[in-house]
């Protein structure tokens, strides 16, 4: 099975929360807590979205992650962590990576991440034929459709 969303978080509780909430929202997500496995996962699954949690990450961890990011091939990158971590990260990555990403500074907001992940995924797929909602019925009535 290919995972459209891959998380790297060495932090059991942060990674766990994110993984759980994304799955609960129907988003097929893989969570890795080791760098080498993360790299392998990115290369195997070609995810649409890669979430890198770099809270309190060491310099060489960030360097490693930056290298993984270079292999993302157009995937959307969401980097989360403290502002110091994010500043360090920014210095590491090339502009190439910077064009297609969102950097979210702590406190961690799983809801925001879920909404952004959904937005990115829906941007990449064709418009879905949602079921008729009450709102849709209202709008159609007003528009006489």
């Amino acid at each position: 099975m290919a995972f459209p969303v891959i998380i790297y978080s060495a932090d059991k509780s942060r990674g766990g929360i994110l993984h759980k909430i994304l799955k609960r929202n129907g988003l097929s997500t893989l969570w890795e807590n080791q760098l080498s496995q993360t790299q392998a996962a990115v290369l195997t699954h070609h995810p649409e979205i890669f979430i890198a949690d770099i809270k309190n990450a060491l310099k060489n961890e960030i360097v490693f992650l930056a290298n993984i990011c270079l292999k993302l091939q157009g995937a959307f990158l969401i980097v989360i962590g403290g502002s110091v971590d994010i500043n360090t990260f920014e210095k590491q990555v090339s502009e190439l990576v910077l064009e297609n990403n969102l950097r979210l500074t702590d406190p961690l907001s799983p809801e925001l991440i879920v909404s952004k992940v959904k937005e990115v995924l829906s941007l990449r797929e064709k418009p879905l034929q949602a079921q008729q909602t009450d709102l849709e019925i209202d709008l159609k009535q007003f528009l006489k459709l």
């Binding site: 910077l98 990403n101 849709e136």
Partner: protein
């Protein structure tokens, strides 16, 4: 209308058929988000007669504005481009002289031509509310349109009607150019689709056009395929609010055959009001706010 020479500038029109939905707030902050991505940006206040973009940047004194251009005090639009405190970001302040909203057609044409010749990576046009010619005439030079709505029914209805008006305007223009009277009449019937139910959907209309002129039908299809409006649902308080954009997307798909609309949302955020009282754009006053992150997302979509 003859289109001026193309350059590498991307012109983005921020429209919102309803007043007060957040066009100016989004324009100002989107301009900053783009400049943070390293793009050169010029934000233009085109809400003629009711300009306020500069106030969001904390600019109290507009040394030069569109008034000067309209009153012929200056001849070149680049002469009224002002620097801001933000790197890469410049602004053209709007005019406030009474009557500027009824800009004479030739003046407007001159302004449009000058706008299209501005040199910058991005030119953002903050337009006024409504679907008057003072709004839609400027859209002809825009490569991208950001349509701002709120999750409420009246605003969503306006948004749908606005897009439909734009498309019909395009078709009318095209039919006039190829001077085919039957097609122009057909378009009038489609406006009154209750009497002509077959013309209720764009598919129905395209079929009817095809029976008159195959090439015209193909060019409508071609236009719709390449039409990728960005709809932003602003002031979303919940996921349900944000999802109202999808309903709009469905209607546009089903009835207007727009297959590639892009739907984004922006949270309702107290950071916005606080920033206004500080006379500072939200992206500078509260760069980590939900609002700021949503705006950065729109910028990401625009630079793609």
């Amino acid at each position: 209308m003859a289109l001026p020479d193309k350059n590498d500038t991307k012109i983005v029109a921020i429209v919102g058929p309803k007043g007060g939905v957040g066009k100016t707030t989004i324009s100002a902050n989107l301009a900053i988000a783009l400049s943070k991505l390293g793009k050169n940006v010029i934000a233009v206040d085109l809400d003629l007669g009711a300009s306020n973009l500069h106030t969001l940047f904390g600019i109290r004194e507009t040394k030069a504005s569109l008034d000067d251009f309209v009153l012929n005090k200056i001849t070149n639009l680049p002469d009224i481009v002002m620097n801001t405190d933000v790197n890469n970001l410049r602004i053209i302040c709007g005019g406030n002289i009474p009557g500027i909203a009824n800009l004479h057609y030739n003046k407007k044409l001159k302004l449009i031509r000058n706008l299209s010749q501005l040199k910058s990576d991005f030119v953002l046009l903050d337009l006024g509310a409504g679907a008057s010619s003072n709004v839609v005439d400027f859209l002809i030079i825009a490569q991208d349109g950001v349509l701002v709505t709120t999750p409420e029914v009246p605003s969503l209805l306006n948004a749908y009607s606005f897009i439909k008006t734009l498309i019909f305007r395009r078709l009318a223009l095209h039919f006039k150019q190829i001077e085919q009277k039957e097609l122009i009449e057909l378009l009038d019937k489609a406006r009154d689709f209750e009497s002509y139910p077959k013309l209720k959907t764009m598919e129905g209309l395209i079929e009817a056009v095809r029976s008159i002129n195959v090439a015209a039908a193909n060019s409508i299809r071609n236009f719709l395929t390449n039409y990728k409006p960005i709809v932003v649902v602003n002031r979303a308080r919940s996921e349900k609010d944000a999802d109202t954009g999808k309903v709009l997307q469905n209607l546009m798909n089903q009835y207007l055959s727009i297959k590639s609309s892009i739907i984004l949302s922006v949270h309702e955020d107290t950071a916005v009001g606080i920033a206004v009282t500080k006379l500072k754009p939200v992206l500078l006053a509260a760069p980590r706010s939900l609002f700021a992150k949503d705006i950065e997302m729109i910028a990401q979509v625009l630079v793609r």
